[in-house]
């Protein structure tokens, strides 16, 4: 508790220091820091009402690949993920400090197009949530709300998306059947296909395998490895083995803080922070 308090004090001071020389520095920043980043988060503080859920989180995801976020439950992993596509906007009373940029663009400006952002940054949820519509209509959902009506183009998108999610062969003969008739694992791949149909560049996944069986989990892990050639994937998991198996980078969250962020291989074999070591060796959480 005490630690948190000092931490938030530090955060406040830092923000103040940053804010003072703002007029010149913002411009400079964008000019100087022109390096390309898929996702860049700086000094992020996040609040549910008066309760702070994230403390001074800073992270850079520089290239395509899989980034895993691990940590005990309630430490803010989902909150962080939902910052990246502004899903937290839907929860009343939330507030955010700091800077979040995707592909070099600050996504928390007054004129950010949130709808466009969410098309660029897709999301897969913990519990598979296909719409109560047919398999076809589920995949075609995104393109349709984008105004696409052409049947042939829609069919093409449905096929490529389902192939992209390694589900095509299982469902190609039953596209008009309810998506809810699929198994849990298939439903989750359907949700991935549904996200792919919008042609995102980043995919956020919040414990996508925690509600499905081991064999289906295996399939989704394979799928994630395939997808990461073309998409930046940020996945939350509370399964450390999974993080170790599929990710290139790993971040360890604890009580709303990003304790450590680095290459998966080094984080798991050679953690810098004592708390990370305690966690991955199973001493708590």
């Amino acid at each position: 508790m005490k630690m948190m308090q000092t931490n938030s004090n530090v955060t406040l001071e830092e923000t103040r220091v940053q804010e003072d020389p703002k007029p010149e520095s913002t411009k400079l920043e964008t000019d100087v820091e022109n390096e390309y980043c898929e996702v860049k988060v700086e000094n992020l503080n996040f609040f549910y009402g008066s309760v702070q859920a994230l403390f001074n989180v800073t992270i850079k995801v520089q290239e395509k690949g899989v980034a895993a976020l691990i940590g005990p439950s309630g430490c803010g992993k989902s909150t962080f993920l939902r910052v990246l596509n502004r899903m937290n906007d839907l929860i009343p009373g939330t507030r955010l400090e700091g800077k979040v940029s995707i592909h070099g663009e600050n996504i928390y400006t007054p004129n950010t197009d949130v709808v466009n952002l969410r098309k660029k940054v897709g999301m897969v949820f913990q519990h598979p949530n296909p719409f109560p519509k047919s398999i076809f209509d589920n995949i075609a959902y995104g393109p349709r709300i984008d105004g696409l009506k052409d049947k042939i183009m829609l069919s093409e998108i449905v096929e490529t998306s389902l192939q992209g999610a390694a589900l095509w062969n299982e469902v190609k003969d039953r596209l008009n059947e309810p998506a809810l008739a699929l198994s849990g694992g298939q439903q989750q791949r359907l949700c991935i296909a549904r996200a792919l149909a919008v042609k995102p560049r980043i995919l956020l996944m919040d414990e996508p395998t925690s509600a499905i069986d081991p064999i289906a989990t295996q399939k989704i892990e394979d799928l994630i490895r395939d997808l990461c050639a073309n998409y930046t994937i940020i996945i939350v998991t509370h399964n450390m083995q999974q993080a170790a198996r599929i990710s290139d980078h790993t971040g360890f969250f604890l009580q709303g803080e990003m304790v450590e962020w680095g290459k998966t291989s080094s984080l798991f074999t050679n953690p810098e922070d004592q708390r990370t070591e305690d966690y991955i060796t199973g001493r708590f959480g």
Partner: protein, 301 residues
């Protein structure tokens, strides 16, 4: 030692059996109330059917009243009730569903929405004669509709609004959050979420609630008394500004205001039966709709 334990056991046994008999009494008391309710309902329905069925024939349903309303049928009242119900739907459904969508999907939940909800709920408890008075003041006088189908339809619409809003809100609330989130995450705007995910899911519930509200409105007399219902009209209404005859009002006249009440009693019972059948039909429609909706949910479409 042993006997003591034994006697304590007996006491316990006794307590248990005492409890059981209490429970039995309570159970039968509850059962009795149920039987009583059914009995009352049965007597009412039996009374109306047995006395009304005799007069119902094709002529009764398709002819206007004749000879100072002592003979003939109730056709104009059936038509009038149909028309006024249509206007009620046209008024109450868009307004009620729209308000529910706004309250549940758009408005920031807080003091204001709580206040609105509370007001709407309380509106449901306002006596229907008060709605009638209000309708007369607003629609007949201030809006200048005069006593007419439209003034009465709007007044009945106001009366059903609490039911429509509450039922619609309930239906909207049952749509799982996961669907909304899934849709938002694909880049849908709020209206797209409502239109493509929430409404398709909620419409059956909205409809059933609305039909039940209408069934109540269709049987109301007080709200149309001063807003457009007529004692007797020689011809059918020809515009929404016309006055009209209506089943509940006709029934009211035939049973209390007519110059030869005992002579027209059978007609009154016939009218009551038609009105009852109409309301039952609407309720049946609501039940069927709900069933179809349940089946659809079970199939996942």
């Amino acid at each position: 030692m042993k006997t003591e334990a034994l006697s304590r056991g007996i006491v316990l046994e006794k307590k248990k059996s005492e409890w059981r008999s209490y429970e039995l009494v309570g159970f039968w008391a509850l059962r009795l109330t149920l039987v009583l309710v059914l009995l009352i309902l049965g007597v009412i329905v039996f009374d109306i059917v047995s006395k009304g069925a005799g007069v119902i024939n094709w002529e009764f349903l398709t002819q206007p009243p004749r000879v100072g309303m002592t003979e003939g049928g109730i056709f104009p009242a059936i038509v009038g009730t149909f028309y006024v119900t249509m206007i009620t739907i046209a008024f109450a459904v868009p307004l009620g569903v729209g308000a529910a969508i706004y309250l549940n999907e758009y408005a920031v939940q807080g003091k204001f929405t709580r206040l609105v909800r509370m007001s709407v709920r309380n509106l449901a408890g306002v006596p229907s004669i008060v709605f009638g008075l209000f309708g007369m003041a607003i629609f007949v006088k201030i809006f200048g509709f005069g006593p007419s189908l439209i003034a009465a339809g709007f007044t009945l619409g106001l009366l059903t609004l609490p039911v429509t809003v509450t039922a619609s809100e309930e239906a909207l609330r049952t749509v799982p959050k996961a669907y909304r989130e899934g849709s938002f995450a694909l880049g849908a705007t709020r209206w797209q979420v409502v239109r493509t995910v929430v409404l398709p899911r909620a419409i059956p519930g909205i409809l059933t609630g609305t039909i039940l509200g209408l069934a109540r409105a269709a049987g109301e007399t007080a709200p149309i008394l001063a807003t457009g219902a007529a004692f007797f009209l020689p011809h059918l209404p020809d515009s929404i500004r016309s006055q009209f005859m209506a089943l509940p009002y006709h029934l009211f006249i035939m049973s209390t205001q007519h110059h030869a009440i005992s002579q027209v009693r059978p007609i009154a019972y016939g009218t009551a039966l038609v009105l009852l059948a109409l309301v039952c039909l609407l309720n049946l429609a609501a039940v069927l709709l709900r069933k179809r909706y349940r089946d659809r949910v079970a199939k996942g479409l």
